[in-house]
């Protein structure tokens, strides 16, 4: 009884704080205006749907600040106080305070179904001769984990790099690496799960997503990532509220992710 009382009192207090904090019950979200399946300015991405779900739970309205999700994104958005929430970052992200993970996905191989390649290991010898597409970032001290992993195995001659940024003047810039498989530009691609899942579904040629082993290359190169929402460091009040909504709305969140074909590597969603 008393716990229920304190919890409802807490909720009332939280709502009050929320109203003060987010002026007129707005959920201020920073998002990329052209980055399906995650988000776009027409609010067609799964992160847009999640934002709507969260806002509904808070009794608030979603407002967006649009900024390309590249280097400087956090600084120019959350950091510049243009918004209070970013809908998706790795859970270990350092630049912001992250919520509990709401999904776990991983890099997957994308192949044409008619090729029947069924490659499920980074150590499959065929990766040395097939043409493999990887997501690349440019000379920014970083690369996508499968790109690192294949290079570590000395596999470089048959690799084709596709920019994570893509051509921003076109719709859904990162989709080219998936289209490349359908068009036989490459035999297979190693692609971040949500991007792979969404564009594979849109493909006119049947494509298959395959998980691969290992999940981590030692000493520590992971291919599977927990994804969280993020708020400004120090904004524990909002983070705690989001955490509770993530728990409470588990089923609805899963349904949205399923709708977008996000391959899940946790207990809640579908295997790829």
């Amino acid at each position: 009884m008393s716990s229920r009382f304190s919890s409802s009192r807490f909720r009332a207090l939280a709502l009050l704080l929320f109203a003060l904090n987010l002026s007129a019950a707005e959920l201020r979200v920073c998002s990329d205006p052209n980055n399906l399946p995650f988000s776009n300015q027409r609010e067609e991405g799964f992160e847009n749907k999640l934002a709507r779900l969260i806002a509904r739970d808070l009794g608030a309205k979603v407002t967006y600040y649009w900024w390309a999700q590249r280097r400087g994104f956090v600084r120019n958005t959350l950091g510049a106080e243009k918004c209070d929430v970013i809908m998706g970052v790795p859970s270990s992200f350092e630049l912001a305070l992250t919520t509990r993970p709401y999904y776990r996905s991983g890099y997957v191989f994308v192949t044409r179904r008619d090729r029947r390649l069924d490659i499920n290991s980074l150590d499959d010898p065929r990766l040395r001769r097939l043409k493999v597409g990887v997501q690349i970032i440019g000379d920014d001290y970083a690369s996508s984990p499968p790109a690192h992993a294949l290079a570590n195995r000395g596999i470089t001659e048959n690799i084709v790099g596709y920019s994570v940024y893509g051509d921003y003047s076109k719709d859904s810039p990162p989709r080219r690496i998936v289209d490349a498989v359908a068009k036989r530009e490459v035999d297979l691609s190693a692609v971040w799960g949500p991007t792979a899942g969404y564009f594979a579904r849109k493909s006119s040629v049947p494509l298959v997503l395959t998980r691969f082993t290992p999940e981590i290359d030692l000493p520590f190169l992971p291919f599977v990532f927990d994804i969280s929402m993020a708020v400004r460091r120090g904004d524990t009040a909002l983070r705690d509220r989001l955490d509770r909504i993530i728990m409470r709305r588990r089923a609805e969140i899963d349904a949205i992710l399923r709708e977008y074909g996000v391959p899940r590597m946790d207990d809640f969603g579908d295997e790829p």
């Binding site: 990329d32 980055n35 995650f38 900024w67 390309a68 999700q69 280097r71 400087g72 994104f73 956090v74 600084r75 120019n76 790795p90 859970s91 270990s92 992200f93 350092e94 630049l95 997501q135 690349i136 970032i137 440019g138 000379d139 920014d140 001290y141 970083a142 690369s143 996508s144 984990p145 790109a147 690192h148 294949l150 290079a151 570590n152 000395g154 470089t156 001659e157 690799i159 084709v160 790099g161 920019s163 994570v164 940024y165 051509d167 921003y168 003047s169 810039p173 990162p174 971040w192 991007t195 999940e215 981590i216 290359d217 000493p219 520590f220 190169l221 992971p222 599977v224 990532f225 927990d226």
Partner: protein
Amino acid sequence: MRCDKRLAIITIVFTIACDMPEQPSQPAGVAKHAGSGKAIIPPAAAAPEDGQWVRVQKDHANTRFSGLQQINLSNIDQLKAVTTFSTGMVRGHEATPLVIGDTMYLVTPFPNVLFALDLKEPGGATKWVYRPDPDPAAQGVACCDVVNRGAAYGDGKVIINTLDNHTIAVNAATGEEVWNTKLGDINRGETMTMAPLVVKDKVLVGNSGGEMGVRGWMTALDLKSGKIVWRAYSTGPDNEVLIGPRFKPFYPMDQGRDLGVKSWPPDAWKIGGGTVWGWISYDPESNLIFYGTGNPGPWNAEQRPGDNKWTSALFARDADTGEAVWAYQLVPHDVFDYDSVNESILLDLELGGRKRKVLVRPERNGYVYVIDRLTGEVLSANPFGHINSSFGVDLKTGRVRENKTKEPKMGRVVRDICPAAPGTKDWQPSAFSPRTGLIYITHQNLCMDFEGVEANYIAGTPFVGANVKMYPGPGGHRGEVTAWDPVAGRAVWKIRENFPVWSGALATAGDLVFYGTMDGWAKAIDARTGTERWKFKVGSGIIAPPMTYRGPDGKQYIAFLSGVGGWAGAIVAGDLDPRDATAALGFANAMADLKKATTRGGMLYVFSL
């Protein structure tokens, strides 16, 4: 599994040396004298001393030397601020102003506003303002700070590059746009930050954006119309690099067909970098232009086995046709982020009793290269800072002798790599005085550790990279001014500075050298001894090379543009959180104390006696 292990891209954490002297401007060197031999500016590449400052480099030789001597060692203590002008912008100001006739031209960082100031009016009244209104999205997709390194002038037009890849010519008298040519696509990560160079009837420009996987190029535009005359890519097949029958590189490593393709895994050259965001020199006698290219991508060098030509390389090209006459890859298969975009200073030297036509390059990898500018032969390559990432340059093969134990590798901890990623010297241009025979190099003294990985993300995609920590090199200071004797191939004296010296330098016939510090001191030193002779505290840190001119009143003026920023100063210009280990590729963390030393804001300061 839960990814609760911390992984990072690049965390350049700076260990602040607390025991550093406040103003460590003491020359500390072997001997306090001028150059040992004869070094002159090639007459054809020198600028007549007419009191103007027509190009940011002063002359085609890139010396940043002025023949004006009204302000000199005997009266420098009387130098006073006479005029200031606010640009109204807060990002990094790297552009040296131009003075043509009675007008000063000043281009700002994004949104790249061009101001014309009437020097006849007291206080320099604004004559006109040209606003190119670049695409605001350019800020979001641009790498690094949104800097601009200056305007160019020719045929009655002032020419600027905008961050969103337009080269624009403006009527110098009226401020009206004459032509406007789009050269690259911001939507593919391309930007433009370098200063154009006018050579005869052409404007030469290059692109930026290696961090985004952009393929580098140099483009010549017709000065009259703005039409593209030629474009030379830095990677790819010979016909796109403009390598043809005239191409005669000095070293066997640079000889062969289509090396811009063959020295990469298939197709990797298409995203290989080699952008052209630095300085161009021009030798009218040989009709050659000289410029260096940026480093290769992607960052993980194991993804790109091979020399990765023509990244981190030096090109000599025919100024009219763009044909490559020779090339020399300064850093084959770069693994440290050592771009080769630094200035080539054209000099005629007496070396070993022979007159040599050379170019001198204080390179990011820590060596001052003296190169025969007609053949591409390296005559000497001596260190001007602390280096352990390599063991010198083999003059027989032209190759850097790499220290494999310092090579960053994913998942391996590598400590004490010197110089750090910004190199012993970054873009900030040196100056040369023919009166002392010395080159004045403003630079860094930084080392770094590579360790661990951290998860980050771009466009919704998690990725991992190296975790880097930067810290001061031997001595505990982060910046230096080195007076370099190009004939003897050694430093004559050095000045230590607390922060990296990101301003570049100006040398004058008054035997003074001017430079600025990131904490906002405009300084003048004795060109022969390095003794500090004058200083003035400006509002914001200085990262633009100073210049000098003779005003309509016949007096000599010195101009400093202050406005901290750039890679080194992004922590202030971008108002970054010092706790953001990954901000500005980590350099922000390296400069955590800069926020206490200066604040942002673009302001021009003009000094005279």
